[in-house]
């Protein structure tokens, strides 16, 4: 029935949406950033515990669509233990993947987001938590927004 949708809603994403990983507040976080999308009402908080240059722990809280939630969940799994520079490099690769459908190098499970590029209206959903984590790791404890309201 929904053949063409299974690329967007990859089985792995549906699973992460239903049972998000690292979905909790991190009490000893030393970096926190928020990502919001005023149109969808997506709203996530990313909690990071940095030890020097390295992401020791990464969790998130919030609500939104299946794509943004699964993306956030995958992100917390894939960035743990990475250095700030590695997070930045990963961010660039993931952005390529989400906007074009491919990207250099092995992205592991995050590759499940490759179907998003065929749904332009949903690109911002998938990218939202990545913007937030970039802000958190760089110590810009701010609210990042995918866009201003327009409907």
């Amino acid at each position: 029935m929904f053949d063409d949708l299974t690329e967007l809603y990859h089985q792995l994403l549906l699973d992460h949406n239903k049972s998000p990983r690292n979905f909790r507040v991190l009490p000893d976080a030393n970096r926190i950033a928020q990502g919001t999308n005023p149109i969808c009402g997506d709203n996530y908080t990313i909690y990071a515990k940095m030890d020097g240059d390295v992401v020791q722990e990464l969790t998130f809280q919030g609500s939104g669509c299946a794509i943004s939630k699964a993306s956030a969940s995958l992100l917390t799994e894939s960035l743990k233990g990475k250095t700030r520079a590695e997070v930045k490099a990963m961010f660039d690769k993931v952005r390529d993947l989400i906007t074009t459908g491919h990207s250099d190098g092995d992205l592991g499970k995050v590759a499940a987001l490759s179907g998003v590029h065929k749904f332009p209206a949903r690109v911002k959903c998938a990218l939202l938590p990545w913007h937030a984590v970039a802000a958190a790791v760089e110590g810009r404890g701010e609210t990042v927004s995918t866009e201003s309201e327009k409907e």
Partner: protein, 430 residues
Amino acid sequence: MTDRAPAENHAGGQRLTAMHPHQAVNWPALRQDFPILDQQVHGRPLIYFDNAATSQKPRAVLDALVHYYERDNANVHRGIHELSNRATAAFEAARVRAAKFLNARSADEIIFTRGTTEGINLVAAAWGTKFIKRGNKILLTEMEHHSNIVPWQLLAERTGAQLAYLPINGDRGLLEPGRLDEFLTSDVKLLAMTHISNSLGTINPVAEYCERARRRGIVTLIDAAQSAGHGPLDVQQIGCDFLALSAHKMCGPTGFGVLYGRGERLAETPPYQGGGEMILSVDFQQSTWKPAPHRFEAGTPDISGAIALHAAMDYLDGIGRGNIAHHDQELGAYAFEKLSALPGIRLFGPTMGRAGLVSFLLDGVHAHDVVTVADRSGVALRGGHHCNQPLMKRLGVESTARASFYFYNTTAEIDRFVEVIREIQMFFGK
């Protein structure tokens, strides 16, 4: 649903009038008037359920646009030549037609605008700046569209006035007429409210509200964006001072609309924008301006918009707006009933007497996921806050999914849509 008198029913909603028995209209045949409906999207027949955002346009309206640009195009009120005369006559004929459509007392009460949003901004900027003072209150309802909130916020900021909101009774989305007096305090100068809620489908008893406000000398404005073209609309029966509508939601073109203003209100209202068309004479330091409605129409207007709206109004009255209201509400009630039977769904708006739209949320599925998947099945829905963020806050939700109907939609399409909703629930593992 059978015919009923337009009286308020006990659920508090109000019929838009189905006073005349449902005349035989060949609804399926009307579909043929809309070329756009005959297409597939993503390989499935298009089911267009985003009519509250904008309606589709019948051939008659498209023809009027083409005819104008192919035969009569010229600037209005300026030329002496034949084409200019024709364009001017057609433009002013549309004004007379709009006055008749709304049962205004005179065509001078009809101002052409870019749409509902501009109509409300015009009242706020021109009438409001002159008459709203520090400490005055502007009374709205919790179900207003952003376009009937933000212009008043801007006015309040400029003048030191305050905003107050008539509350709704939770998910059913009804105002409580019993509480109106509580809010009609002596500092209230304006009541601005929507006729039909674009998120809830609530039909507000606006005539009663205007009457009660007017008795206290409160000026009233009705946002008719969702009601115009969906049923009879009579400004004298409603008794409002201002009423704004958008052509594009009633088979007309985008970027065009009407602001009705009661004659005595317009007479006391200063200009909105300055420019050509609206002046009597211009000197180096000072100008004098025309009376209403031209005082409020600076610059070359959207002539083709007026002409296309004229065609749309003729088209709608050809079907009969009472018939349209009846059919709309039948579709709304049918969809509401079918969706109510599903597990794991939260429905918004009145259970009875609703307009032709249904807002809902599925347990565990975000509205945008519903809309994305429905789109792949050919069903065009809307998901989001519908420019009703304060209302969403009041309902305690971020967004809803919405199916909104017009007379060319069918119960068969609703059946298919409900099937798709079931498939979506299954897809997301419910």
